[in-house]
Symmetry: C2
Subunit: 399 residues, 2 copies
Amino acid sequence: MDQGMIKGVQGFRFATRPAGIRKAGRTDLALIFSEVPALCAGVFTTNKVVAAPVTLTAPRIRRGECQAILVNSGNANACTGEPGLQNARRCGDLAARALGIDPELVAVSSTGVIGAPLPMDRFEEHVPLLAADLAADGAMAVAEAIMTTDSFPKVSAAQGEAGGRPYTILGVAKGAGMIHPNMATMLAFVLTDAAVEPALLDQALRQGVDLSFNSITVDRDTSTNDMVLVLANGLAANPVICRGTPEGEAFAAELNAILLDLAKMIVRDGEGATKLVEIRVRGAVSYGEARQAACSVATSNLVKTAFFGEDANWGRIIAAVGYSGAEVDPEKIDILFGDVQVVRNGLTTGKELEERATAILKTPEFTVTVDLHLGDGAASYYTSDLTYDYVKINAAYRT
Amino acid sequence: MDQGMIKGVQGFRFATRPAGIRKAGRTDLALIFSEVPALCAGVFTTNKVVAAPVTLTAPRIRRGECQAILVNSGNANACTGEPGLQNARRCGDLAARALGIDPELVAVSSTGVIGAPLPMDRFEEHVPLLAADLAADGAMAVAEAIMTTDSFPKVSAAQGEAGGRPYTILGVAKGAGMIHPNMATMLAFVLTDAAVEPALLDQALRQGVDLSFNSITVDRDTSTNDMVLVLANGLAANPVICRGTPEGEAFAAELNAILLDLAKMIVRDGEGATKLVEIRVRGAVSYGEARQAACSVATSNLVKTAFFGEDANWGRIIAAVGYSGAEVDPEKIDILFGDVQVVRNGLTTGKELEERATAILKTPEFTVTVDLHLGDGAASYYTSDLTYDYVKINAAYRT
């Protein structure tokens, strides 16, 4: 999986522009185009306050075909009412006309401030120019154009093989928490030239998102604009990859790995974050309860500030497990930082091991394992530390 | 309700000592004693990891009678296994022997670090001395002895009348978040000389806690040691106050007011907090959903950092309402800061009102109202802002 070698995906082309939506001189508008209509699947925000581009795009994706994605940063087009929806539709229409395709094949996506109308003149002017600029090697530029408070562009890619034909999967993502001044978003677009069965694509995306984007936390806020799309245009000309085959499993594993790679980049780039911590819960009575316990630890402000403080504070971890709602027997709980066990059967293993654990907390990436010793349920959550800079970034009016 | 006048409650006596459990020279051990066994009710942590004093005390309180409360700061006696439970019992026995009462009438309560054994020699030495020091006017000293990261002692009191006889209710509390190095706790003890029906006392406590201590948030962490006890010794010699009577309602209202007063003090004293904000949700389809939406807004790190930033950021509030799980129609949502409406029917009311709202955010205490316009459900949650100092206090090893 040498990503450095992968610059694009067969049949996909990219363009970006500084359109003046976010701030002058910075790329903020991007177009992804597939030469042929691609099979697609999508996962969208579960927030009941849904931004216009999600309202427009979700039913289009559900129809199963997509050929272009138009995405802007700088304005979320959320809480903008019926005019906002008309604007989203107009953006899609502009892209469709410039590309000469059916508007129903265009996905529209936005990230940025809530409650402000889209500057439509910027779109009218720049979308046609994007279509004229499409190039095969522009994926990194797209990742840059969709950044908001992100500090680095997020791209991950892999190659696979099906029926003797190589194929590529490439994903771009953005996200670093919800953001000043009003909000933000997690967006990810994954592109592949593999030919895959629709049911496989959909299932692999849902499982992959569950284990990646739905298992990370910077703050606990779910944006109005979250969107993960996967497009498969089939131009690798491999025999169609189906569910329940070794090739189907390999494809799903590769897609999962890319989604998890992108998701970890988002945590690593979390607002103010200095640590990436995997919270691994095992021995729960079920997968669901393992997730519940892992989520409770991963989202605890006290646990996250202790990570920032490089403090092997297992008391806060055991408390967060205790109030997670998962079934626990306090006298069976083990806790490890890396491979150093600080709690056995709910009791401290002593000062010496706690000091060894502190050395692990000083590293930028580590794992906390909580073993409940009740069953086979296991799950991981990825979290960042809670720092001065998180407060600074999000209290921007004061700082 | 001139609290300044109320120094004690008939028949209750108090003592405190610097016992060397927390740090040298600071009071950290307190005893509350009623001359006669008091009717009691209690609410305890819902954390599944329960500290030894809670395990010991909860069944004693459920029996309905209590005559003494022994409480220490500096050590939570949590995650200490069977020896911890034996130590808690020994503490209660020491108090019972010193007071000449049945050990089953003693409640034991602890707050402080998790996972360390209680220094029993300190209790052996100091509990008998406490019993010899009891005085009627020591409630404030008890509030001081149970402080951990609290910056001020928390006492609230009121007087009522039943059957022409005056009675007093007095409460003390501690709590400012969960705390360095390992934890902490919310504790509250409410004492009254009123004679009340057991069912009224229990019901009034549960309702009051629901509207007060269960409606506040500093961080979202539920400690292993949380405990609220109310003791009613009946020495006011009033006719017993019963449920479903005007006097019963008045008693419950007074108890509620004291619990809410103490709960607000805890938020005001929240770790690093500079603001006390009431999140008032109305127009929800039910009380439960109003609570759910209010809790979601009150616990959002993004909302709390925006409060610190004095930023009228309604986008974060509407997003938190949207992912709360409560039923919402985005096009019906109104949001007000104080009496300034910044959102009507899910849309901004404009820059001018947003600037007026910013002035309200600069005050130390204000209300945010979210009207969902779907039904009659209404509930309030009280929250603090999330500040640099919260991070500093909780990442203490690093700072």
